[in-house]
Subunit: 316 residues, 2 copies
C-alpha cells in the first residue's frame, strides 16, 4: 500500500521507538527538522555506511530486515574500529514505492536494540532501489586516543577477534539452497554461517577493550581480511607477514581472506599479552594471533607465499 512520507515516518518511528524507548528529557528525536541530543564530553566519533539492495544484499536470499540490520551494524562496526562507543544513529531510507517498511524497520530496530544505539533521526525519500544510508555518532570514553589504521610498527603482533569467512560462506549456502529449490540451509553449522551472513556482529566491546589496552592500529574486516590488511599496512608503512588465518567452520580459506563483511576487528599491537588479558577480563573471546608487522613495507605474505589483495572494492 502506497503511503505518504509523513505516515511512513510515523510508522518507522513507532517501530524504532519500541526498540529504543522514548527520548530522554531535553532530547529531540525523530519528527522535527533535526534531532537534538546531549553532546558527549571530549571527542565525538562520526561514521557512515550504506547498504544498497543488489550490491550489499541479494533480496532474493535475505530479507529487508537483514538489509536494515546490516546497514546499522556495519556503521557501528566502524565506530568499534576506532575504539568508540556508539551513541546515536541517523538513518536515511531511499525506497521504491511498495517497499515493506515494517520489515525494514524491524531489522533496524533489532540492531538498534542489540547495540544499544537509538535511531534519533534521518530521512525518507523515493528511489528506484532500496538504499539504507546510516550515520552514527559515538564517544571515546577515557583519555586514550582513537585507534587508527596508521599506528602499526614493525614487530607488532597482528591478531583478529574471531574466525573469518562466515558471511561469505553463508551467502554461498543461500545461493546453493536457492539453486536447489529449497531456501533454507540445513544443519547447525550451515545455520551458523547463514546467520553470520544475515546478522553480522559489530565487535563493540572488543574495540573498546583493545583501545584501553593500548593497541597500535585497528580496522574492521568489512571488505576482506587481505584487502583490509593491505590498507592497514599501507597506512602504517609496515609489511605484513601472516602465519595462518582462522577460518570459520564450513568456510574456505579464500572466503576467510577475501569474503568480507565478517566485521571482526584486525589489530596490531606491541603488547599482545596485555590485549589478551584485557579481553579475558571483559569476558571476551581471546584474540587470535595471525602474524606480524615487518619492517619491509612491500612485504605481504601468508605462510611465505604472496598475500593478494582479495576483497570487495567498490568500483565507480
Amino acid at each position: 500500500v502506497s503511503a505518504g512520507e509523513d505516515a511512513v515516518v510515523r510508522r518507522i518511528a513507532g517501530i524504532l521507538g519500541r526498540a529504543s524507548g522514548p527520548a530522554p528529557a531535553g532530547s529531540v528525536w525523530i519528527g522535527d527538522d533535526a534531532a537534538v541530543v546531549e553532546a558527549p564530553p571530549g571527542r565525538l566519533v562520526l561514521a557512515a555506511d550504506a547498504a544498497v539492495a543488489g550490491v550489499h544484499a541479494d533480496l532474493e536470499l535475505v530479507g529487508l530486515d537483514d538489509l536494515g540490520w546490516k546497514a546499522l551494524t556495519a556503521t557501528l562496526s566502524d565506530v568499534a574500529a576506532v575504539g568508540g562507543r556508539p551513541l546515536q544513529a541517523l538513518v536515511t531510507l531511499c525506497l521504491p514505492p511498495g517497499t515493506d517498511i515494517d520489515l525494514l524497520s524491524t531489522g533496524l530496530a533489532e540492531a538498534s536494540a542489540r547495540w544499544g544505539c537509538p535511531v534519533v533521526g534521518g530521512d525518507v525519500t523515493t528511489s528506484s532501489e532500496v538504499t539504507v544510508a546510516v550515520a552514527a555518532t559515538g564517544v571515546l570514553d577515557g583519555p586514550a586516543p582513537p585507534v587508527l589504521r596508521s599506528g602499526a610498527s614493525p614487530g607488532d603482533r597482528i591478531v583478529v577477534t574471531g574466525p573469518l569467512g562466515g558471511s561469505a560462506a553463508g551467502l554461498r549456502l543461500l545461493r546453493r539452497g536457492a539453486a536447489d529449490g529449497h531456501g533454507r540451509a540445513r544443519g547447525e553449522a550451515d545455520r551458523a554461517l547463514v546467520e553470520a551472513h544475515r546478522r553480522p556482529v559489530a565487535r563493540l566491546a572488543e574495540g573498546r577493550s583493545a583501545r584501553h589496552a593500548g593497541v597500535a592500529a585497528m580496522m574492521d574486516v568489512s571488505d576482506g581480511l587481505a584487502l583490509d590488511l593491505h590498507r592497514l599496512a599501507e597506512a602504517s608503512g609496515v609489511g605484513v607477514r601472516l602465519d595462518s588465518v582462522p577460518v570459520a567452520p564450513g568456510a574456505t580459506e579464500e572466503e576467510a581472506l577475501g569474503g568480507g563483511e565478517d566485521f571482526e576487528l584486525v589489530i596490531a599491537t606491541a603488547h599482545p599479552d596485555r590485549l589478551a588479558e584485557s579481553f579475558t577480563a571483559a569476558g571476551l573471546r581471546a584474540p587470535i594471533p595471525i602474524g606480524w608487522c615487518t619492517a619491509d613495507p612491500a612485504e605481504r605474505t601468508l605462510s611465505d607465499r604472496p598475500l593478494g589483495r582479495q576483497g570487495w572494492e567498490h568500483r565507480v
Copy 2:
C-alpha cells in the same frame, strides 16, 4: 574511467580538503574507519537528508555539482531550522560506474566552503543511480532551547525569511529551455530563478538569529510552504490564517505555495518586532509577515480561502 573505491576516496578527499583545509590537530577526518572530532559543549544537533538523481534533480537539466550542493545545503538547512550552527558533515555517495566524481565533489566542496562545514567522512558504494546521503552535526550556541515545529501558539505571527517559488520557477525555465533546444535561461530575472534552483541557500544566520530572538516555532521550507505550514500547525495544534505569500519575481503563487526547495525558514513568534530587530542587527533581510496562528486547529486559510496541502511528499 573506472576506479577502485580507495582511489575514488582519495580523489574526493583531495577536492574536499582544498575547500575545508586540513583537519585540526587531534581530529581525524576522511581516510580511517571513522572520523574523530572535538565534541561541542552542550547540545548536539543531528540532521540527515539525501538527494537522489531523477527524484531531487534532473541531471539532464542540472549538473552533478548542483546535486552535491543541494544535498549538503538541504541537510544544513535542517540544522538552521532548529537554530543550530553546523559543525561537520558525513557524505555517503552511492554511484553508478562512470559517475563524474570530480564534478560531484566540486559541488560538495563549494557548499562545504560556503557554509563553513567540512566534510569529515562518509562512504562510497556502487549503485544503479546517483544518491548523495548527507548527515550533519551542529551545535546550539548559548542557552536558548532548539526551535521546534511544535512551539507555536494562537496569536503568533507567521513570517518567512524570503520570497518563495524561485526554485520551482527555475526548474520550469530549465525545462522550457531544454524543450526549446537551448539549455540556458535568458535575462537577469531568469538567471536568478535558475540559480535558486541549482544553488539554494541555507538560512543559517537567520535560523540562529531567530532562535536567539526567542521565536516559538520554526521549519525550513523544503517541501512547499503550504505542506510545511500544515505540518507546523499540526505539530503545534494551532490553526493557520495567511494574508499573503511573498512570491519570488518571475515565479507563480502556486510555485510559491507548493514548489518547495526554497529552503527559506518559516517562523512563528509572539514577538515579531524583536525578531525584526534581531535580523536587522545581524545584517539580514527583514522577515516577511505572511499571517497568524489561530486557536482553531482545523483552520488553514490564505486570504480567507482554504489553503491546500500543496507540496512535495515522497510516496513509498
